[in-house]
């Protein structure tokens, strides 16, 4: 499954207005709920925040990939946000985060791990991060991801 298949254009927020990671996660979940990916948004929020309490998903380099499995999720889905101003995510390198990928998956299904690996691979092997930070529209974001995933197929 590609990232593009589970990232709805409605779940991309450029210039996300939020002051902290709790608020950012909550807004991303609202987008996912509007896109029909969640059945119980509050349960999912609790699961994501619980995961964050155990260990921050700020992986360094200005990127965070919060994620969780929950029975409140109806299908594997991703939301992407670029905060208006970088947010403190208690990242491993202490740097504020300017790109957030939120992954949610149904309980008892491990597919989100493959998406987590794919996002990580896309971030570390290509120019995805740089290009996403420059993107102007949601549509452009999707085109960038599509092109980077194509490159991954060829390598």
């Amino acid at each position: 499954m590609s990232l593009l298949e589970i990232l709805d254009e409605r779940c991309v927020a450029l210039d996300l207005d939020s002051s902290d990671k709790h608020e950012a996660i909550s807004k991303l979940l609202e987008m996912l709920a509007s896109a029909g990916a969640l059945s119980e948004k509050d349960d999912v929020l609790q699961a994501v925040l619980e995961r964050e309490r155990q260990m921050s998903t700020g992986i360094g380099g200005g990127v965070a990939i919060p994620h969780a499995q929950s029975k409140g999720v109806s299908r594997l889905a991703v939301a992407l946000a670029r905060p208006k101003t970088p947010i403190d995510f208690e990242a491993i390198d202490g740097k504020p985060v300017s790109l957030i990928f939120l992954i949610v998956g149904p309980e008892e299904r491990g597919g989100y791990v493959r998406i987590l690996a794919r996002i990580s691979r896309l971030l570390y092997t290509g120019d995805l991060q740089k290009k996403l930070l420059r993107a102007r529209t949601s549509d452009e974001v999707l085109r960038i991801i599509d092109a980077e995933e194509e490159k991954l197929k060829v390598t």
Partner: protein, 324 residues
Amino acid sequence: MVCPSCHSVHPDGTRYCSHCGTYLEEPSPSSTLRETWLQALALLHDGELEKSSRRLRDVLALEPSHAVARTYLGLAHLAAGDLAEASEELRKASESGLPLSCLFLGMARRASGDPAGAVAAFRRAAAQAPPLRFALHGEAGAGLDLDNLSAAASAYEKLAEIDPENAVPHFWLGVIHRRRGRLDDAEASLERALGRDPDFNEARLLIGEVRLAQGNGRGAQDAFEELLARTPGDGRAHYRLGMILAETGRGEEAIRHMESAVVARPEHFEPHFQLALLYYSERQDLERALGELETALAIEPNDPAANLILSELRFLGGRAGTQS
């Protein structure tokens, strides 16, 4: 002195060949050049590079324009790994216009890390003697070294014309088209290569990759399955099939192929990593997933994606331990 019958070398003054018994006459002054030349060749044949080089220099002292002797001297240097001396002698020899000198000069220059010089030498050899196909191969290979895809393609196209039944030029044309992003042309060239040699595994593997890049997953799967039918146990085909099947939701089949890929190519990072992901995503088998991930990280300790997944699986393992 050299036996005229069997060409074995003997100390000067020997009267009979110890190999075949032929009577060995003392060389007349007029036969000295030929004798020395034959000795040099016999020594070269026996792998006596230093002694042969000395004799070849003797030949060149007697006849400085002996381009073949200079070519062989260059070859002796090439065989001994002395690339600078080889290039110099072969350059001098190539001035005579001997196509083989140009060919070997191209080889020496390519081995010396001078692909531009190699292309020039190979091109000259091919121009002087079109049947020297290796010169075109060399020109194309050195063109690829230079990332000069047009030059390489042109050489392979000539080869395909000269030798229409040879699959190799079509394969490389496929490689070049793919690198240029011309996927349909790549597929067509690779089809031609396979038409000439159905057992050309590299071409079959590449055609599968080209079809994947075209978005033709079914065609790619066919190519990899055909490769496995012809070469069971090909780890690369198992790996790629595993990836396709995982993408199309056939997790258990994907696991079987990825397990075979790991067995066939245990030293490669990616199959272990993908198998770890599959064990967890398809079976929630945390223990096996962690085992494969640890193996992958032993191969590529700094892979960021694998490290991220390792920390995630350890987190999940810790949570499972707490819950149970």
